[in-house]
């Protein structure tokens, strides 16, 4: 691990709640670690479990997934689906040997700017402790 290594955290968020929550963190000038890169989807239902695997292949050290609180969904049921799906996904990743400490699911609403900034900081801190994640990264190299 190099001295100034910084974790790469890929974040998938839904447009209506968490993306708006992140915007609110911005307008409120809540500072947070710059390690995350946000990818926007319309609803957490759109997030494909394979996105997570792919993110690890491309060198992510952690993946953060955040949508509306169950029941608050703009698309009413979409994130119930997501919740079920991700519970299963986490189990699957676990069996595959993925370090599931590096996959974080959180609900964050449009009004929770402060929660979003704290979330990012917490995840960044915990991944810093875990160190770089190369298992899947190297898989990707081999394929190439």
């Amino acid at each position: 691990m190099s001295e100034n290594w910084e974790p790469k955290i890929i974040t998938f968020v839904c447009n209506w709640c968490t993306y708006a929550g992140a915007d609110l963190a911005g307008t409120s000038r809540f500072k947070y670690a710059s390690n995350i890169r946000i990818i926007k989807t319309p609803c957490s239902g759109r997030i494909d479990p394979m996105f997570i695997v792919s993110a690890f292949e491309k060198g992510a050290d952690a993946v953060l997934i955040s949508g509306c609180h169950p029941g608050d969904c703009h698309y009413n049921e979409g994130n119930y689906n997501a919740r079920r799906k991700f519970t299963m996904m986490k189990r699957l990743l676990d069996t595959l040997g993925v370090d599931t400490r590096r996959v974080v699911f959180a609900w964050c609403s449009a009004s929770e700017g402060i929660k979003f900034s704290r979330l990012v900081n917490e995840v960044t801190e915990s991944i810093k402790k875990l160190g770089p994640y190369t298992d899947y990264h190297s898989l990707n190299q081999e394929e190439r």
């Binding site: 890929i10 947070y32 996105f51 698309y75």
Partner: protein
Amino acid sequence: MARIGVFVCWCGSNIAETVEVSKVAEVSKSIPGVVYSVDYKYMCSDPGQELVKNAIKEYKLTGVVVASCSPRMHEKTFRKAALEAGLNPYMLEMANIREQCSWVHNNMDEGTQKSIDLVRMMVEKVKRNKPLDDISIPVTKKAMVIGGGVTGIQAALDIASGGIPVVLVEKESSIGGKMSALDETFPTLDCSQCILTPKMVEVAQHPLVQIISYAEIEKLEGFVGNFKATIRKKARYVDVDACTGCGTCWQKCPVKVDSEFEQGLGKRKAIFIPFPQAIPSRPRIDAENCLKLTKDRCGICEKVCPTKAIHYDDKDEFMEVEVGAIVVATGYKIMPVSAFPEYGGGQYPDVVTSLQFERMVCASGPTLGDLKRPSDGKLPETVVFVKCVGSRDPEHYHSYCSKICCMYVAKQTMLYRHKVHHGNCYVFYIDVRSNGKNYEEFVRRAQEQEGAQYIRGRVSSIYKDGDDMVVEGADTLTNSQIKVKCDLVVLATAMEAPDGIKQLAQKLGIGYDQHGFLTEAHPKLRPVETATAGIFLAGCALSPRDIPDSVSEGSAAAAKVLGLLSKDTLDKEGVVAIVNELTCVGCQNCIRVCPYNAIELKDICNRQGELQRQVAHVNPGLCTGCGTCTPSCPSRSIELQGFRDTELYAEINALAEL
């Protein structure tokens, strides 16, 4: 080949302070596909937009990335500018370097590096974007209201006053709903019929309203703006056009049965109108009790009818209507006393429901307003009201609060005392919930000025002792057991979803909760919409509520309908799912997960018209673009436009180079 332009905004100093904008623009040039990049002080200003437009034309850009504020702020602005310059608006994406960079990071290097990353991700995405067309769907400018209670009447009137024709479908032979059976109404004690009848007449006479009574929905096809409903007009055995409502038939009919409208306290004939103010004022024959229809005897009504309107061979008829929007206002029913044997319900005639009590005190009721108890006609000197019967009792009955019983019980104690000045009345209650305008004052008036005695506690049993009824319960305020002798017991039984509501909901494709009440799209922000576009809800169909709330919702639903049908077409963004019919295996996974029922199976036939296979098909009118279907597809055949796999993986892959 992609030709992408990158436009980096300073947002004054908002971005420029923590992001080296010129560097972002400079580095962007090295991203494959980028042919032009520039930074500018205010990209959203007119000159900023001109810059974008001119570059699109000059450099023949195929895609644009604007790195500035959140797309929630200005995506529309820039997409409009792109369109004006001849570029499909969906070929423009935004990198959010203000809310996600400059405003949340202090360090210039970090902010700059992250901005470059975000630009790279969006460049990779926009390179793979496909131009999309907005969708425009024609609408039928006509509405249907299901349920002709006060809620449905209000909705129909408001829609019709907005110039949109309405079909009002009512299950019973008259409109009016429960309100037509009430005596006086809280919190003002105005007579229910006096305020409802004019509305019933108004809706019946409105040139744009067509009332179809004694009818139910058989089938619903189509989608928002384009529904086709099949209505079953149940056999009435009376030609409503020929009939003048003279009443000769029901005066002469020899059969007497319990009247549903009178809650079993009065009688009606086998040919009848439910109540004198019924609209339409045309009778129907009750086929189960008519002598002609059951035993081929009698036939008196046919003989006496001056207009030959009686037809014993009448059959159910079906009619189809095309409508653009639907309001469901099917109301409620109350639990019968027989559901409560522990309270002597069904066993003792002097244990009645609150709705029966309304009829017992109503001037148009079976006793013409003379309060008599059902068993022996005696004037009740003491009455006990029991609240929350079947409500707030998750172990035995319903977990929910029926919301309005607190109010109507207070009202009924007053109605009672206005009839029996020296009478005693007791109310067993758990809580008094009176949180409406002038409601608390109303309950206080019942307690403080009109002599109602409130006892806090649950009733344990109700039984008969000689001529008297005895109510036993606990007074939880004094912590004592209490026994009240009385002449009449009124149970404020729970309001429930009406019969047949689940079947109706399934036909309409709308949701209902575990109690059978219909579900709104969002409990706070979309309280009168369903998850199915174009179908709205109002009144007690959603859950128990009083007349003011019901009427407000009737109007709210009408406003939604008018908004929807005010345009000739329904326009929406092109962000909808599309199925690749060549690779779809018809597994129906997507159909199961779509929260909007927007996907159905479609037949694929060969040239001879023989069915080859079935594939999924998305109705763009119903699809909301949530994308839940896309990850569910095992053959990767259903893709949400604007968020296709290739587009999102491009964003992920862009990170490999970071």
